[in-house]
Each structure stands twice: as structure tokens, then as C-alpha cells.
């Protein structure tokens, strides 16, 4: 354990400057973040996972700050906890906040083997890192100079300028990939307002479709609204979302895979 403490201390403020407070915070946050990380993997509900992830991110941010990198800490909070995780949550809300994974394991022995191998790996790494000698690493403050920001800037724009610039290729690829996977080009002319209104009057539902049963039992949009006679309304849930609690046959909807049938969509202006 003493090795790890030294490790923490060394990374935090340099060999001589390991204070009790820093050690204490490190250990507390270490426990919290690892627990949250394990929890994130084990949690069945996506929302719980996202929240656990937020805890990990925040802990990391504090650790950065503790290690003398306030800029990094703030970026961590703003970008990851603020932007990325919020996006996660939006998506989760859209697909149903309480959607959960199936946890039935079909492969025989998978869990046992995974547990054994995971434990083994843990022991090995603990041995390896526990006995490891930290060489050459200098406290971060030594690079900071006139401040953390300029220290980082110095690294990013001189020593690591090439990988930093190449990262842009990664971002462009990601954007392009998102477009490729999500954007569907129109192959037919866009229907005009007139065509749409005609279609609507001619169809079976001239009125607006009923809203989803959000807040009826659950606070997400995948809950169908109840009709006066107590049956769920098939029209109340967007076809891109799987209805909750009902198989698609019960709900009278089309089987999954055809949910995006064009006639269906056009019926929802």
C-alpha cells in the first residue's frame, strides 16, 4: 500500500510535498470513483449508468485539480459532465428512462470465467503496479510555469502538436460517420403543405394524434396513453420507440423492423 500512497503523492505534488489532506482526498476519491465505475458497469438501467459515469467524471475532475491541473479539471467538468453526459441523458429520456438490459447470460460459464480472469488480472496488475518503481515522472507543477493553461498550451502546441492536429481527423471522421449512419437522403420530392393537409383529411385521423401517456405511470415518452375504455392507444407513441409493457401485437402496431413504414410516418404530421 505504501507504494500506492507514494504514487498518489508523487503525482499529486511531488515527492516532498505530499500533505495529509491531499492523501486523504486522493484515497476517498479513489474509492468513490472506482465504486462508481464498477457500479456503472453493473447497473441494469441506462440512466443509473449515466449517473454513475457522472460521478466518475467529477471525481476525476477533482483529482486533476488536486494534482495541480485546474484547467483540465474545469474542462473535464464542462465538457464531459456538462455536455457529453447531458446528451446521454437526453437520448435516454427519449428512448425511455427506465429501459434496461436483459441480463440473462446464455453462454455457459461466461460469467464464472469472466470473474476468474478478472480477479486474476486484478491480482497481476496489483502486483505489477504495487511493485512498480516510478521513474522520471515529475510533478505537474514543474510544467505549469506561469500557469496550468500555458503549460498545457506549451505541450499541445509544441511537443505534441502533430498528434493534436491529427486528432482533428478523428473528429472529422466522427462527424462524417454520424452523418453516414443517421442521415437519410430524400429520394422522393418533399411533399408540399397542400399535399400533407389533403393526405391528412383523406386519412383516418384528421385530428392531431394523441400525446403519449407520459406521467400516467412512468415519466417517459414510451408509455402509451390510455383511451377512455382503458385500452392503450397505439397512436400515442412515436413509432420509432418501442412501446413499454406491451408487445407490439397487443398494441396493434406493426412488428419491429417495419416501424418506419412510410405511410405510418406521414400519418403523423
Amino acid at each position: 500500500m505504501s507504494h500506492l500512497t507514494t504514487l498518489a503523492a508523487t503525482t499529486a505534488a511531488g515527492p516532498g510535498a505530499a500533505s495529509i489532506t491531499q492523501n486523504l482526498v486522493f484515497w476517498v476519491l479513489a474509492v468513490i470513483s472506482v465504486t462508481a465505475g464498477v457500479g456503472m458497469v453493473l447497473a441494469r438501467r441506462a440512466v443509473h449508468c449515466a449517473l454513475m459515469l457522472a460521478i466518475v467524471m467529477l471525481s476525476l475532475a477533482v483529482l486533476y485539480a488536486l494534482a495541480g491541473a485546474p484547467f483540465l479539471a474545469f474542462v473535464q467538468v464542462i465538457v464531459y459532465t456538462g455536455a457529453v453526459l447531458m446528451l446521454f441523458l437526453f437520448v435516454l429520456m427519449l428512448v425511455g428512462v427506465s429501459s434496461a438490459d436483459s441480463i440473462v447470460e446464455t453462454i455457459k460459464g461466461q460469467r464464472l470465467a469472466a470473474g476468474v480472469v478478472g480477479t486474476g488480472m486484478l491480482i497481476l496488475l496489483a502486483l505489477g503496479i504495487g511493485h512498480g518503481a516510478i521513474g522520471g515522472a515529475r510533478p505537474l507543477t514543474s510544467r505549469n510555469g506561469s500557469g496550468n493553461v500555458s503549460g498545457i498550451a506549451d505541450l499541445i502546441f509544441t511537443k505534441y502538436v502533430f498528434p493534436f492536429e491529427v486528432t482533428s481527423a478523428l473528429l472529422i471522421t466522427a462527424a462524417l460517420g454520424a452523418m453516414v449512419l443517421a442521415h437519410r437522403e430524400r429520394t422522393t420530392p418533399k411533399p408540399t403543405q397542400r399535399q400533407l393537409s389533403r393526405q391528412r383529411i383523406a386519412g383516418s385521423h384528421p385530428t392531431p394524434l394523441p400525446g403519449p401517456g407520459t406521467y400516467a405511470q412512468h415519466n417517459s415518452v414510451d408509455m402509451p396513453a390510455m383511451l377512455p375504455d382503458g385500452t392503450p392507444s397505439e397512436l400515442s407513441v412515436s413509432p420509432v420507440i418501442t412501446r413499454r409493457g406491451l408487445s407490439s401485437q397487443e398494441a396493434g402496431g406493426p412488428p419491429p423492423g417495419q416501424v418506419e413504414a412510410p405511410g405510418k410516418q406521414e400519418a403523423r404530421p
Binding site: 505489477g128 503496479i129 512498480g132 518503481a133 522520471g136 515522472a137 500555458s150 505534441y160 472529422i172 460517420g177
Partner: protein, 526 residues
């Protein structure tokens, strides 16, 4: 340094643009390709992309030759130069690998560019759900994803950087830059789209898994050496600093990340599934260029950073090489899908090349370089032939459908048989020369048992190659036998290039062998 920081001034970095120009050109054209996607009307895109991509790859290849023949770079017997503030190494093995990648990528792009209506391999609209009406509309409208060209260019750019990366951070970025476009491309198959999407998903998940190991390994190595520079790690490893557990654990994990990319057993699980599901031109790209690039990076890391630790990593690498050769050859025997068969064959070949890597000598390096180039051409050619044998549902990949192909399309079957013989290592094909070179290097490096295993698994592998040949020529065709489409000039060119390279490198391998051994003579720059 501290003085400049104190003054708040950063000295601008020096970038050797002239030495990095092939890579920069590829990245630049990839970005240009994205702009073409944004601003050019659909009808004109393909033509522009073809000019940009093929022309760019060819130009980058020429630039690579120019850099390689530059006098100043190798002045006073220098092994090379470390450019871009220590991020990128420019030396002879790297330039050889980059040249190989560019040529192979050029041939792969020829396959990607195949667009006669029946043969195009890419989905009309990746966003349309498989089997849906939108998908049909897209197909009827005759559109195809032209984004594949910039994506390919990004991947090629990453592949160029991967073996050239002189520090682990750059290497990691390059790994991601080359992987991400490939994940996407894998999911864009026109036929059997669910299989393709599943392949992309698997590749992505497992790729991310291995990247995590790689990154963890980098962290451990940084902890050990206080730097991510390969030479600094080597220096720290050679100066006896006491405990080396961080170094060794880091070595193992970084090695894992690299071995995953080349598909060594037991990190090979993705390979058959992904090769089968991906559009065949993309499979060809992965089976040739990615493998070359990953081996380049593996060679650099193990020769430069861990060159002093040969005795530490050799036993483990021996085991992995043996497992890879034997498992690849063994499992291939019972495969019934041509693309899976070629995937397992690719795994076995990765094992053969590993025997050359393990030698850790200049001879091993040059043999590996030659093998990579030779194997790349043959494998692209083989996959090109796979794209030609089709039934109404797309490519007829099941082996039973290939029965009797020799009777109906003797030329195509003959060419495929020739590629298989090259894989099996029959003399007068490049496969023989390459195998001979790596085994020779391995024997010289004292790895005789490894070579014996290699020869045995070659024998096993030869069995299933010959089985396919027998199936093609001595069985009667099935009643629902697929037809062989007449390829356009693009696919034909890829096949012809594959055949020519396989023959020439088998009959007159001397020029390329000489080039490889010249490239390897001074090993890597540090």
C-alpha cells in the same frame, strides 16, 4: 524552456513538412473529400473522389519515394530523422511500409471504386433500416455512399502515421484515426446488411476494448519511464532502475493492442466475423493495408522501445506466434465461407510474419517487410475474385457454391487457385519467397522449433487451400450455382495487379528483397 514559459511565450514548433508530405497530402485530400461531399452535387461526386483518392494515393507514393531517396535525410549513414517535434519517425523501414500501404491502398480503392450496378459493394443508404421500403427506394434511385472515399483516405492517413509514430501517444491517436473509419466502412455493405452492421458493431466494441488495454499500457509505461517516447522508454529500460514490473506489464498491454490489430490468437476473435460481414473491398483494405500498418507499428515498438528486452518478450511472443499459426490453419479447415476461410488464412499468415518479427534482427525485419508487401497483393487479389462470384443475393461466399467454378469460369477459378497456391507457399509464387525469407530469418535467430511449427501449419493450411482448388475444378457445379460477373476495368486492374505481383515476387523477388533488406539494414531511427 522554463524561461520562455515564464515570459508567457511559446517557441513555435518546427515541422519538417518536406518529410511529412505524403502523410499530410493524404490527410489533406481526405478533408477535401469531405468538402466534396458537402458542396458537390451527387452525380459529380464519384468522379471527383476517384481523381482525388487515386491521384492522391499515387502522388503520396511518389512523394514517399522522393523522401526515401533524399540525400539529406540519410546523410552520414543516419538511420533517419525524427520529425514533428519527436512525434514522427522518418526512416527507411517506415518509408518502405508507407510505400507498401499506399500501393496496396491504391489497389484496394480500385475495388472500392467498382460501381457497375451489380458489383458495387456499398449500401445505398446506411441509415435506412435493412429490408425497409426506404432501402428499396435508395437502391432504386441508384445512389451509393460516396463518403467511403474520404473515410478510406482518413483510414489510410492513420495507417501511414501508425507505423511512423515515434511516441506512444501519437501511436494511439493514429490507431484511433485508422480504426474509426474502418468501423464505419465495415457497416456499409450493400447486401446482407444486418451481418455487416453486426460486424461493424463487433469490430467497434472489441477495438475499443483493445484500445483501452493499449492506453492502459501506455499509462504504465509512462509511469515507468516518465515519457511516452519510444527511445526514452528504451533508455529507461536499459538503465537498471530496479523494479521493472511497470515496464513489463506496460509492454504486455501495449503489445496486446498491437497484436489485436494484426489478429494474433487469442486476440483474433473479431477477424473472421468482421472480414465476413464487411463489404469485400473494405475487407481487402483491412486484410492488406491495416495488417501492414499494424505490423509496422509492432515492429517499431518491439525493436525500438523493447529492443533490450528481447529475452523477456520472446517466450510470450513465441507462444502467441505458435498459437496464431496453428489455430489459424486448424480452424480454417472446417470453414464453409470463402471470406471466413480467407480471414483464418490471414490469421495464420500473421503468425508466419510474427516468426520474422521475433527474430529481432535486420534480417527478420527485412523478411517481414517483404512478406507484408507480397501477402498484401495476393490477398487483395483473392478478395477481388470473391467479389466477382455472385448470385442474386450478392456475393456467393458459401464454398458449396464455388463447386465446379473451374468448369464454368476457368479463368476466374484459375486465378483464384493461383492466389490460393501463393497463400500455400508453392514455389515460384510470392508466398513461397516470403515464407522462405521469414523462416530463414527465424532459423538464423535460433527459433528452429518455431519454424518447424510454421512449416507444419503451412502443411495444414495447404490442405484447405488445395481443398478449395479441388472443389472448384473437380466437383460438379450445383444447380443454383452463382454466375461470374464480368468486372469493370477497376476490379480487373486489381486482379491483374495481384496476379502480376504474385508472379513477379515469386519468380524475380530479388529487387524487392534487396529493397527490403536495404530498408532494414539500419533498423529504425531512435
Amino acid at each position: 524552456m522554463s524561461a520562455t514559459i515564464a515570459a508567457g511565450v511559446i517557441t513555435p514548433p518546427s515541422i519538417e513538412y518536406s518529410q511529412l508530405c505524403p502523410m499530410l497530402l493524404v490527410f489533406g485530400l481526405a478533408v477535401a473529400g469531405v468538402l466534396v461531399e458537402a458542396f458537390v452535387p451527387r452525380q459529380a461526386r464519384r468522379g471527383i473522389h476517384l481523381v482525388l483518392t487515386l491521384g492522391g494515393l499515387a502522388a503520396a507514393f511518389v512523394l514517399t519515394i522522393v523522401v526515401a531517396s533524399s540525400k539529406s535525410l540519410f546523410r552520414d549513414h543516419a538511420a533517419g530523422h525524427v520529425a514533428a517535434m519527436g512525434a514522427v519517425a522518418v526512416d527507411r523501414p517506415t518509408l518502405f511500409i508507407q510505400g507498401t500501404i499506399l500501393v496496396l491502398a491504391f489497389v484496394s480503392v480500385l475495388l472500392i471504386a467498382e460501381s457497375s450496378h451489380d458489383v458495387s459493394s456499398f449500401a445505398a443508404q446506411a441509415a435506412a433500416i435493412p429490408g425497409s421500403a426506404e432501402e428499396r427506394e435508395g437502391l432504386l434511385a441508384g445512389i451509393t455512399h460516396t463518403e467511403v472515399y474520404p473515410l478510406t483516405m482518413f483510414a489510410v492517413g492513420g495507417m501511414l502515421l501508425f507505423p511512423a509514430a515515434n511516441d506512444l501517444l501519437t501511436m494511439f491517436v493514429a490507431l484511433e484515426v485508422l480504426s474509426l473509419p474502418l468501423y464505419l466502412l465495415c457497416g456499409l455493405a450493400r447486401r446482407r446488411r444486418l451481418l455487416s452492421q453486426e460486424a461493424a458493431m463487433k469490430y467497434f466494441l472489441l477495438g475499443a476494448f483493445s484500445s483501452a488495454f493499449f492506453l492502459f499500457g501506455i499509462a504504465l509505461l509512462y509511469g515507468f519511464a516518465g515519457s511516452v517516447r519510444l527511445s526514452a522508454i528504451a533508455a529507461a529500460a536499459s538503465s537498471d532502475t530496479g523494479s521493472t514490473t511497470l515496464l513489463l506489464a506496460g509492454l504486455a498491454l501495449v503489445g496486446l493492442g498491437l497484436l489485436f490489430k494484426i489478429g494474433a490468437v487469442p486476440f483474433h476473435g473479431w477477424k473472421p466475423d468482421v472480414y465476413q460481414g464487411a463489404p469485400t473491398p473494405v475487407t481487402a483494405l483491412m486484410a492488406s493495408c491495416t495488417v501492414v500498418s499494424a505490423f509496422g507499428a509492432l515492429l517499431r515498438v518491439f525493436y525500438v522501445a523493447f529492443g533490450q528486452l528481447t529475452w523477456d518478450w520472446r517466450p510470450a511472443m513465441w507462444t502467441i506466434a505458435i498459437l496464431t499459426m496453428v489455430a489459424g490453419a486448424l480452424i480454417a479447415i472446417t470453414q464453409t465461407d470463402v471470406k471466413r476461410l480467407l480471414a483464418y488464412s490471414s490469421i495464420a499468415h500473421a503468425g508466419f510474419i510474427l516468426t520474422g518479427v521475433i527474430a529481432a534482427t535486420a534480417a527478420g525485419l527485412s523478411a517481414s517487410l517483404f512478406y507484408l508487401a507480397a501477402y498484401g497483393f495476393t490477398t487483395i487479389g483473392a478478395f477481388a475474385v470473391v467479389t466477382l462470384v455472385r448470385d442474386p443475393a450478392g456475393e456467393a461466399a458459401h464454398l458449396s457454391q464455388w463447386a465446379g467454378l473451374g468448369k464454368r469460369s476457368p479463368l476466374v477459378a484459375g486465378v483464384f487457385a493461383f492466389f490460393l497456391l501463393a497463400f500455400a507457399g508453392i514455389p515460384l509464387t510470392s508466398g513461397f519467397t516470403g515464407k522462405f525469407a521469414v523462416f530463414q530469418a527465424a532459423v538464423a535467430g535460433g527459433a528452429v522449433p518455431l519454424v518447424i511449427v510454421g512449416v507444419l501449419s503451412s502443411a495444414i493450411a495447404a490442405f484447405f487451400y488445395v481443398r478449395v482448388i479441388v472443389l472448384m475444378f473437380f466437383s460438379d457445379p450445383a444447380p443454383d450455382a452463382p454466375s461470374v460477373v464480368t468486372p469493370s476495368v477497376f476490379t480487373s486492374a486489381a486482379v491483374v495487379l495481384g496476379v502480376v505481383a504474385t508472379v513477379v515476387l515469386g519468380v524475380v523477388p530479388q529487387p524487392l528483397l534487396g529493397l527490403a533488406s536495404h530498408a532494414a539494414s539500419q533498423l529504425f531511427v531512435r
